[in-house]
Amino acid sequence: MLSNGVIKPQSLPELRSKMTEYMASGLRLGWLLNPQDQQVEIYCTNQAIQLVSMPTVLSGEAVLPGFELKV
């Protein structure tokens, strides 16, 4: 975020807002990895946002069939 010429890194609320924007734009599946808090937020169409602790294995579900991501 540019504020009076100072560049700041994106906060978690900002990143969550971006994920929500993606979902509203037609994204079917998205993962927000939060290594600082060892958590992953799973954004999936027509589902509530799921919060999962790391380490875990994320599934591509019906969107990326057969895809698994170890985080």
Binding site: M1, L2, I7, Q10, E14, K18, E21, Y22, A24, S25, G26, L27, R28, G30, L33, P35, G60, L64, P65, G66, F67, L69
Partner: protein
């Protein structure tokens, strides 16, 4: 790397340090391996920005678009900032 929000603000989304960058590379690598086996779509790196319907331009650390969605774009759309995500 800059993004533009729907409110027309410019945001710096410059990448992280070594650990974050390595994590990102691993993720894209896994996605590429899976996509080469299944041939279902196209993988995009963190340098790829997408135009979203709310007039914002956004990039993800890794993105994947179904092949039929990509095929539906014109050559001009593919060369520029592709609209929408899948």
């Amino acid at each position: 790397m800059m993004e533009r929000t729907a409110q027309r603000e410019l945001i710096d989304v410059s990448p992280v340090g070594g650990e974050g960058s390595s994590r990102e590379a691993d993720l894209i690598g896994d996605l590429i391996i899976w996509n080469r086996q299944t041939q279902l779509g196209k993988v995009f790196s963190s340098q790829g920005a997408f135009k979203l319907p709310f007039c914002s331009t956004r990039a993800a650390d890794a993105a994947w678009v179904r092949q039929e969605r990509w095929d539906a774009l014109t050559p001009e759309q593919r060369a520029g900032l592709p609209p929408h995500l899948s």
